[in-house]
């Protein structure tokens, strides 16, 4: 079974600074997908970024980028130029495959607070 570990329960960052959220996972699969989701107080789950395991290039989406280390099974999220609207809970998630076996396994999440 796959596991996703987010060991930091909460972090705080000053507005406009950069913060990195850590995530590790365990799997015996060679092909899979990794995600970061954001859940603000509205509780809506918002997809932040996605990484396919077969791609060596790290995914980026505007101010959000990942550091994907497949051998180390590490998938950290870097948020640059932090904004107050980034305050939310962030979940790292793993998906083994698409189709019949596809389902997300989530980490415990990390609460990020952006200070003005």
């Amino acid at each position: 079974a796959q596991t996703v570990t987010q060991s930091q329960p909460e972090m705080s960052v000053q507005e406009a600074e950069t913060v990195t959220l850590s995530c590790t996972y365990d799997t015996s699969e060679s092909n899979y997908y990794l995600f970061w989701y954001k859940q603000p107080p509205s509780r809506q789950m918002i997809l932040v970024i996605r990484q396919e395991a077969y791609k060596q290039q790290n995914a980026t989406e505007n101010r959000f980028s990942v550091n994907f280390q497949k051998a180390a099974k590490s998938f950290s999220l870097k948020i640059s130029d932090s904004q107050l609207g980034d305050t939310a809970m962030y979940f790292c998630a793993f998906m083994k495959d698409t189709g019949a076996n596809s389902k997300l396994t989530f980490g415990k999440g990390i609460t990020l607070s952006v200070r003005p």
């Binding site: 995600f35 509780r43 789950m45 997809l47 996605r50 997300l104 989530f106 980490g107 999440g109």
Partner: protein, 112 residues
Amino acid sequence: SAVISQKPSRDICQRGTSLTIQCQVDSQVTMMFWYRQQPGQSLTLIATANQGSEATYESGFVIDKFPISRPNLTFSTLTVSNMSPEDSSIYLCSVELYYGYTFGSGTRLTVV
């Protein structure tokens, strides 16, 4: 991207009663997923619902407690039956798209 309408957004229910949560997707999808998020916790998959077949439940979740319907490719319901305060959680539906999963806005359930 798909849009999921989930309702109700919140409810306060008496113990022993049941609540049915609805999810409507604006496009046809093969699988729909139901998650539970207990207060301050992560998301836990309850079951996967395919149209035309019985839902597949994860360990720790049973059909008698969480019956699911999937009458067509755009709609599903989750019922929380015989509720107790321990069922107080956020319940979310989700569908898989080619770029990842998208979620409904969640139902915040409080059982008193």
